[in-house]
Symmetry: C3
Subunit: 320 residues, 3 copies
């Protein structure tokens, strides 16, 4: 794990939520709250990052997250450029750094990186010049820190900031999920009362991971009393590898139906990082129902990314 | 057909010109006129759409139309983002709406959609939140409303606003052409005097379509007396399907040569939506000749799209 | 060769450095110097090209050069649009011009073109309307003028403006290199004292090219006394065609090692246009060593492109 901080302790990179202090997470959420915007309202804009150049390096396709970061940067007055470069596992380490150093020499201030290979984001962060910040936009199955923050922001909006009084259940393919890992770090960082992991054995993470998580092998045992039900996307390849015959059986055992949701608290909220497999991990009536906050998650994503960009970038002042 | 209007009768979407009142079309053209710009002049710019976020969703490639909308939005001060997403026929309806709702939650105000499948644009328009507008940038063979408006604007520039005194001939593959359909709606909406359809039988639209059009099977019979000659692009696949042996024979029978153009009025103008097949539907000397207004059409496209964007978007005021 | 100038002698296009007067090159470098920016500083920005629309037409992939031009344009306040169009050899000449005229009608002021086919850039430049400028971003093996200028700027930064007192060595695949051709034009245009070409016979340009260059077939004979060592990228295909068995042998004979670099002057600088083949044409310890100015070249690229854009574009005044 790389050091994400400057010498003065301030946050420079955000490649993981691991190691962030509770006060830091709360500060980020507080800052993000100022950028939250209801549907149909004009989103807040300012020029706080005017003159700052941000590069989007997405080596995995992801329109939603890429556009969310792009809009976050633009609404703060920054220049955002989409860069189609290879940082892939096949490129030699040296070549990857040459690419990064070249972009750096074009005076980028921030690189936002999504990569399917674990370690690439941190490797870039460890090698860029001191004035450059690196943000992860999703790294292998390991980390997706802004997703973790937007999930925490969504819970806080609905349930208040007393996380110690909350029971949060994460349901589905936790083993392969960067969303689950970053959510775990955010929720435990904020002192969540109880965190439950609900998954079939093949999709449960290794024993040493998620140490504060209580493990359940069925929604029937794991959902009762939950304030938050966070569903995960299941991928076809994973179902096959996990010897779960097909989507229908998965839905039978783990899909979130109105009946299953009724096991949780009556005012429980339903979350999903999207894209959803309707009829596999979640029933449409739940996804679109009154307890769903799935669209708020997307909207909060822009607010969180604006807060993170503002926090790590220091236009002018901190430069050499 | 969806309702394109708000409760107060104002235009919210533009997916088709069908149903627009004459006064509305004229108002759009009037507004567009203010944005028309001669070659070599600085195009007009303002901040009328500052703070507005526009998403370009083109699932068919079209650099020209995409860039035309992009420049129209930018010159009004909006943020324009190109979105590479799938709205395709293979995606399930639910998934398509999830994509749209996700983008909506990022606070887009306008979606500009081009899709090869009929009905997609209207389906999106019918399902977005009340503050979001949807513009068609070309839908299957059905509709291309801003092209219809730019064609009308070009005719008006050259021939004045007494459409009732004009004879307009549309020549070529009318059957498969969204350009012809939207032009028909624009010209008849403006009360065109006479509208002629000139095509081989296999490329003539069904009998119930284009009710005000007079049908001709050769330029020799259809062009005499025309004030406007609008040529359409013919596609190789269509020629084969229509049992028209090859481009040369098509050119022999329907290609616009100087001789054929001489059948029309001496001051007739020549239009083409581009890209052109020179030597198939049009001879180069005509395409580049003094009667051609083909480049003006492109230029007018930006002006029309600025006018449409300004008309449908209501920054601030109308929002919930 | 096309005329790059307006009637008043001022520079309108930049497709080649051939024919530029020494004073013009020096003026461009002087102007660029004002835009040079140290690592970690905020790059200079202004609104000198506000209202100007720039189109990037890259038919060969090149993230680095494309982004360099894009940032140059944006930092001068221009609108920059990336255009995915075909200007390729397979498209008919007429079609290519139709594409260009269509874009022109959208009120682009500058086209920046990279194309793998020789002559395309000049053909476009010769056919655009008088208020439009065309800049080459790399043309076949022929020309890459802004690269030549950034190389000259980098030499001037390190060695001062007395080019007549300098010995510059270009090493590698000179025969196929547009970088070498434009660097040659820049350096000889600035009155370089001595220019050396170091390459195996198969990669040496034709006898009539590079008339002021002295030819050497080994670094051992060509490097002694050099102030500047400019390495070129060698491509696998070229090595095979040139019957140079593999990268290792090439490195043995031509790779820039610390030992070879020691043959040049002690304060010689090392340049490379990137991307580098580390371990083939250059050893990592040299690429990253104290004499390397490779990153400065990239940074200077933005400054040079800003200067070129400002020089060729005349917003307002010169328009019809």
């Amino acid at each position: 794990m790389i050091n994400q901080r400057r010498a003065d302790g301030s946050l420079r990179h955000l490649t993981t939520l691991d190691g962030l202090r509770r006060a830091e997470i709360e500060q980020l959420l507080e800052r993000a709250s100022a950028y939250v915007c209801a549907p149909g309202q004009m989103p807040p804009r300012n020029q706080n990052l005017a003159g700052v150049t941000i590069g989007n390096l997405f080596t995995e396709p992801s329109t939603r997250t890429r556009v969310s970061f792009e809009l976050a940067g633009r609404r703060l007055g920054a220049d955002v450029v989409n860069l189609e470069v290879q940082l892939s596992s096949r490129a030699k380490g040296e070549t990857m750094l040459d690419t990064v150093h070249t972009l750096e020499s074009l005076h980028f201030d921030v690189f936002i990186i999504r990569d399917s290979q674990s370690g690439v984001v941190a490797h870039v962060a460890a090698n860029v010049m001191p004035h450059v910040s690196v943000l992860s936009a999703g790294e292998a199955h390991v980390s997706h820190p802004t997703q973790g923050l937007l999930d925490a922001l969504t819970v806080r909006q609905c349930k208040g900031d007393r996380f110690d009084q909350l029971t949060i259940a994460i349901v589905g393919d936790i083993r392969h999920s960067r969303v689950a890992r970053s959510a775990y770090e955010a929720f435990t960082g904020l002192g969540v009362g109880e965190l439950r992991l609900i998954a079939p054995p093949a999709l449960m993470p290794a024993a040493e991971e998620f140490p504060q998580g209580q493990r359940f092998t069925s929604p029937e045992t794991g959902l009762p009393g939950a304030d938050v039900v966070m569903m995960l996307r299941i991928q076809k390849e994973r179902m096959e590898a996990a010897a779960i015959p097909d989507g229908e059986e998965y839905f039978q055992r783990f899909g979130l139906t109105p009946q299953r949701l009724a096991l949780a608290k009556p005012d429980a909220i339903v979350m999903h990082p999207q894209p959803m497999n309707r009829g596999i991990e979640i029933e449409s009536s739940v996804a679109d129902g009154p307890q769903s906050v799935i669209r708020s998650q997307v909207s909060n994503g822009v607010a969180v990314r604006m807060a993170v960009l503002e926090t790590v970038v220091r236009p002018g002042g901190s430069r050499t």
